[in-house]
Symmetry: none
Subunit: 432 residues, 2 copies
């Protein structure tokens, strides 16, 4: 039977909505990849009684595995390790070797802040090295160790994996946890699943719903696949999970999607548009690399930030001119004052001038111009909030220019405009 897991996210700041939990969703995806069903994700505050009740509930529901995130810090309200120890009926013991390793991790800190209270540090250091007896220690990435805590009686369940709250500590530590015998034993009955992702851009989600219905009308047994579709940052993601025996059903389904959506399907291998644009800019060899630069108004640097998100992007990103004021558009991106006067700052003409200006001023092969009204103020009947003009200029031929009317808040409009720009760059590079 497919093993079932629960996730317990701790922290009053998460429970009260002040901090958005990123660990629950991330761990849920990882568990799915391993063929483990997630039954519950429960968020609890820093009250040990509530945390323990959540564990008891999950154990009573017969879950094989419980993952916790958070509550491993040095302060007194960080209680997860202790509560898990009690729940698994394992006494807490000081791991002296671990205490030494944490002290080593902390030593650069004490150099940076020479006035720190060393007694306080040593005390919290010791707290973090007190672990349930028999637990497998996962080496600290920050200062907090993680734990894999098996049930105290063999053949019983659940096994509890204790992970720190910061995602950059939790994520590598989870990879370590997966390699432990204790975790492998807890999920030994997991089924192998295959998972694929198709990404489409430029169609409403309802079109995919109609494609699913059409596939079923054609006789495909889609109930043998687990298909989820979701709209994410302006793209439609179709994720399919299936047992290896259903490969043929999946292949037939993918063929239907390909046939009906050949113009909008842009990724079938998990690659993002960001990765595709990076690969297109790099070309097939170093001397084929094309450089890129942006001139942005309403996105205010978000497009440049997105282009430089990938490691090694300095190989092809020259830079950007963020030109919020009209003066900056003129001096930094070479837009003519008349163009702004005649057509307005948000226009096809200014977007094209920005793209050309980005190429010329920054000496890049590809130039991108973005100008729009992110709101909440500044909209008119003719040019409402959400109107964005974008243009991509390459060495050869006409620029690729288009406008969109984006819905949502200021943040939504700015973010969505970067997605539109990435797809426009992709199209320009494919056709240049």
């Amino acid at each position: 039977m497919t093993p079932r897991a629960g996730i317990v996210v701790t922290g009053t700041e998460v429970l009260t909505g002040r901090v958005t939990d990123r660990n629950g969703p991330w761990l849920a995806e990882r568990l799915k990849e391993l063929g483990v069903d997630v039954a519950y994700t429960t968020i609890v505050g820093d009250r040990p009684g509530d945390m323990e009740a959540a564990f008891r509930f999950m154990a009573k529901e017969g879950l094989d595995l419980i993952l916790t995130s958070g509550g491993l810090g040095p302060t007194a309200d960080d209680l997860t390790a202790e509560v898990v120890g009690r729940f698994q009926a394992r006494p807490m013991v000081l791991d002296e070797a671990l205490e030494g390793r944490i002290a080593e991790i902390l030593s650069p800190l004490t150099k940076r802040w020479p006035n720190l209270d060393m007694d306080a540090i040593r005390e919290s250091n010791r707290k973090q090295a007190v672990v349930p007896q028999g637990a497998i220690v996962l080496e600290p990435i920050g200062t907090a160790p993680g734990l894999v805590v098996p049930p105290s009686e063999p053949e019983s369940k659940p096994t509890v994996v204790v992970l720190p709250g910061p995602p950059r500590e939790l994520q590598p530590m989870w990879s370590e946890a997966v390699e432990t015998d204790a975790l492998k034993a807890a999920i030994k009955d997991a089924t192998e699943y295959r998972q694929t992702m198709l990404r489409l851009y430029g169609i409403p989600e309802s079109e995919i719903a109609e494609t699913l219905r059409a596939a079923e009308r054609e006789g495909l047994e889609l109930n043998r696949l687990e298909i989820t579709t979701c709209l994410k940052r302006g793209e439609v993601e179709v994720v399919t999970r299936y047992e290896p025996a259903e490969q043929e059903v999946y292949d037939a389904f993918e063929a239907v999607v390909r046939e009906r959506h050949s113009n909008t399907l842009f990724s079938d291998d998990g690659s993002t548009v960001d990765q595709q644009v990076a690969a297109l800019l790099r070309g097939s060899s170093v001397d084929q690399t094309q450089t890129i630069a942006t001139a942005e108004s309403c996105t205010g640097g978000l497009l440049a930030a997105r282009l430089t998100e990938l490691p090694g992007s300095s190989d092809y990103v020259r830079g950007a001119a963020i030109v919020y004021s009209n003066e900056a558009k003129i001096t930094q991106a070479g837009v003519k004052a008349e163009t702004i006067e005649q057509h307005g700052a948000v226009s096809a003409e200014v977007a094209e001038a920005l793209a050309a200006g980005a190429r010329a001023k920054l000496g890049a092969d590809v130039g991108v111009g973005v100008t729009g009204i992110a709101g909440p103020g500044g909209g008119t009947e003719e040019k409402p909030v959400g109107l964005v003009w974008l243009s991509v200029a390459t060495a050869d031929g006409e620029p690729l220019t288009r406008s969109v009317n984006l819905p949502g808040s200021r943040a939504d409009i700015r973010d969505r405009a970067t997605t539109v720009a990435m797809h426009l760059i992709r199209r320009a590079l494919l056709h240049s």
Copy 2:
């Protein structure tokens, strides 16, 4: 006694992490405002057994109130109303008046798409009008009605409030739910709470832990306050929640924090450093406004994007030069080639030249320069990944320049560098 509530968010797409839940955090904030403690937020998939188990758990823990979101749609996997009816031991009955009102909501839809299958529509319409007997119906905003379902035996608990998944339907419907006698009865013992937030920058979280211990040593009864500390984007947030009767204890606690952390406490009114920088740039009147521009290397536009996040930022943000390549640093930000040659692109000298260049090239009052190694490649022993130099130049006097060694991934380093920059800008503006 303070009433306690649980939130049950339903939906496989939320449980698997494909869609981020926005309702749990929103409802948690609203409950807090009403003086209701949230004990748990639990996410469950579309399996009725799992949903019912979550309700039973919350009832067993003695919660007064359960809120659910999602699972009220017209399709077969939308089961929340039925599961809640069974849980509250109330038979499901067709509310004919409600059925009529839903039909009216749907009629424009049927006019717009005349080919819709009317039988299918009528069937799902009827499904949404079948409600637990004795439940209070909350009028639909979309097509799904909400419900307040009291326990079937008087004086028992919990009361369950059933709300739809889309935030734009859930949020107004919650306001309606709050006005019902059934909900008022369920939380009649709610206490008023006060809540404050202190934000500090430039100290490790362990220092705050030590301050809490020190306050207790001085005799403060901190257990009469609910204090949570958390590290967020490089800042420490101390949130305190307390009953009005404990105001004196809180005042004494805040005084201790002020005394021990006068240099690092930068906000006591909930304001963010972004808002403070915006207010400082705006000044006390229009002719006092100072404009700002950045020249960024490793942050690649993230600082400009952050400065332009707030509505109205075009009043003071001139723009930015994103100068990834050395050539761009020279042509776009006026850095001298010799400066880069002599000191390297990541140096105090280049950061200062960038700050001065941003001011000069973009005609701004305040210039900010950022240059660093975001990694994962490009680090050396002398200049490791995570080293970032920042400088802020104003009209008067010396630039404010500093370096930091930031931990974490490329994304962490880039994000954290923007926080360091915001605080450096704040300091420069306060002292100029």
